[in-house]
């Protein structure tokens, strides 16, 4: 086992390239800006991005099962609105949080029911629920800003410090770990992959594909609900249009991390690393004082470069390890012929 083959083996783990790019970016930002690599700064922006990690994790289930969920951003905003409203009405913390999560679950169930029972297009249905959830948030906030619950415990959902990090981050990490574990180890996770790889073969091997998809959308909705509660607790203020466009960050992050939009391929940690990449990029550009007008150009280019880099490193590593395998094979056949 020489070093080169070890390196190729590490490189052929999917997602390593994007992780590497992420680390390089963090290093670059911390050398070029004094305020980037400061614990407070990191804590702040990761906390800000915790809801995005949550919805990315939930969305990954839907995408791997072969679907898409565009409604998560708007549902996250609406859940933030409902939980904060109930908290402002003086409901206990746990009840307000539950109502936020229930809002997300409800939208997950609505998406899932329409898509699986009527077999209609997921893109359009979730686009419809995106509009509905966004509209309901506008109705709820009535064009004003919902400001401030006096419930300290509610704010503590995202703001308490545990081992030097905030609970918002802890919740996000826990959710990612649990969901990743379930996806890779549980039989349900296997069924999600099978459904995404091919509906028909999955169906023939006895998988209730509609049920699998239904559950995936409910998970995605539930994570949006949880994300909403965390965001509401973090900001302690909600206005119409909150979290609009989060779904695109989540989708772009997932694809950047190697999740295939045609289903059946990907994993949650990689999707979250992709989302982390995008969140960090935005934060870093702000700190470097880059002209905000060209943020989007840089983000767009970074997405393109990231995807190409990830694919080409993976393919290169595969090719090299394939060549090594061939060489070993040749060596063994030569040995056996002797």
């Amino acid at each position: 086992m020489n070093i080169a083959s070890r390196v190729t083996r590490v490189l052929s783990i999917e997602g390593v390239a994007i992780l590497g790019a992420f680390v390089l970016m963090v290093l670059y930002f911390s050398f070029s800006s004094d305020s980037f690599f400061v614990a407070d700064s990191i804590r702040y922006y990761v906390n800000e991005a915790a809801p995005i990690f949550l919805i990315t994790a939930g969305l990954t289930y839907v995408i791997i099962a072969g679907g898409i969920d565009l409604s998560i951003g708007a549902v996250l905003g609406l859940s933030a609105g409902t939980s904060l409203t109930f908290s402002m009405w003086g409901w206990p913390t746990w009840a307000s949080a539950l109502i936020g999560i229930a809002t997300g679950l409800l939208f997950g169930v609505i998406n899932a029911a329409i898509i699986t029972f009527f077999k209609v297009n997921d893109f359009i249905v979730t686009l419809g629920t995106l509009n509905i959830a966004g509209g309901l948030l506008t109705v709820l906030t009535d064009h004003k800003q919902l400001v401030g619950t006096s419930d300290k415990n509610f704010m503590a959902i995202a703001g308490t410090m545990v081992f030097g990090v905030t609970t918002g981050i802890v919740i996000a990490i826990l959710a990612v770990v649990v969901l990743e574990f379930a996806l890779l180890q549980s039989s349900y996770g296997r069924r999600v992959y099978a459904t995404g790889i091919g509906r028909l073969p999955a169906f023939i091997s006895g998988i209730d594909v509609d049920k699998v998809k239904f559950q995936a959308y409910v998970i995605s909705g539930g994570m949006a609900g949880l994300g909403g509660v965390v965001l509401a607790a973090h900001l302690n203020s909600v206005q119409s249009g909150l979290a609009g466009g989060y779904e695109l960050t989540a989708i772009a992050g997932a694809v950047l991390g190697g999740v295939s939009l045609s289903g059946g391929r990907g994993s949650i940690w990689r999707a979250v690393v992709g989302a982390l990449f995008l969140a960090t990029l935005k934060q870093g550009l702000q700190l470097l004082g880059v002209d905000p007008l060209i943020y989007q150009i840089i983000t767009g280019l970074c997405i393109l470069i990231g995807v190409v880099l990830d694919r080409s490193v993976y393919n290169l590593a595969l090719r090299i390890s394939g060549r090594n395998l061939e060489r070993n094979h040749q060596a063994t056949t030569e040995l056996s012929s002797v």
Binding site: G128, N131, I132, Q296, G300, V307
Partner: protein, 343 residues
Amino acid sequence: MSEFRSKVSIASTRNRALMDPSFGVVALLALVVIVMSIFQPSFKTSGNATNIINAMMTVSFLAIGMTVVLISGGIDLSVGSTMALTAGVAGKFISYGMNMYVAFIFALIVGALVGLVNGLLITKLAIPDFIATLAMLGIGQGIMLYWTQGVPILGYMSTPYYYIGGLRKILGPISIPMIVLVVVALVVSILLKKTNLGLYFYAVGSSSVSTRNAGVHVGRIKIWAYVISGLLAGIAGIHIAGRTTTIPPLIGNGYEISAIAAAVIGGASLLGGRGRVVGALIGALTLTLTRNIINIVGIASSWQAIVIGCVLIGAVLANRASEMFGKRISERTEKLNKRKVSA
């Protein structure tokens, strides 16, 4: 015998209508229009009809281009931002003193170039279409923001541009954009139905592997689809610049979603291989009519998004329902015919 045959043909025509991928939404639209005309006198005025048609132009151009891309099995999220960029090219170049028509040609070239870049990114670099066009959306928006420094573009309008934007009519209610739209719709229809390229679009969208095995250069076909979409975004950009008389840098935001929604309501499938130009127009009409009715009935602005969301879901459900209904009826007539033949 002849009576029997005519009955069969009527039945089969009826079935074919019901099986049509956008029959459900057309029926729904007809119903809504009838109800509105009865209860809202201001709805059936000719002025309002012209309003609706004018407002649906922009989305129609984009939806036709999107339909071509969807047929070939892709998706183009960049159309809104490309439209804004081409509008910016036309507006800026004219205000720099360039001849209007030369500026239009530049706008179309920029549109087609963006499409070409999309196509190359997707086919040569194997970037997923959703991500490549999403990145192009951001890049286009960014270029537009940086170029204009966030300030709306003004001062490019001239008398001929008022005609081209459809603000002045050439004959009765007929404006130049309407004629352009009809021509574009016809050309793209013929392209899709009568040419090899059109056939290949459907083939690539249905199964790119079998199309490649049949010896077709799949990558080139896909690139053409994105170039057509970009070119149509260019036409939409020239039109919207004339219609709004000022170009805010983010004028195209959200149009990509409207275009996809219109194409899918009109029966295009996001899985590829299905879609029609007429469908795209029906979809664009659905979206525009919804906005128009919201304004006329006076639904509070905060409820508008909810109504639009319900309409989107209702439209795909209506299509689905008519499809199921048509399938059931055709099965029944088939059974009846078999019984008749055996008798």
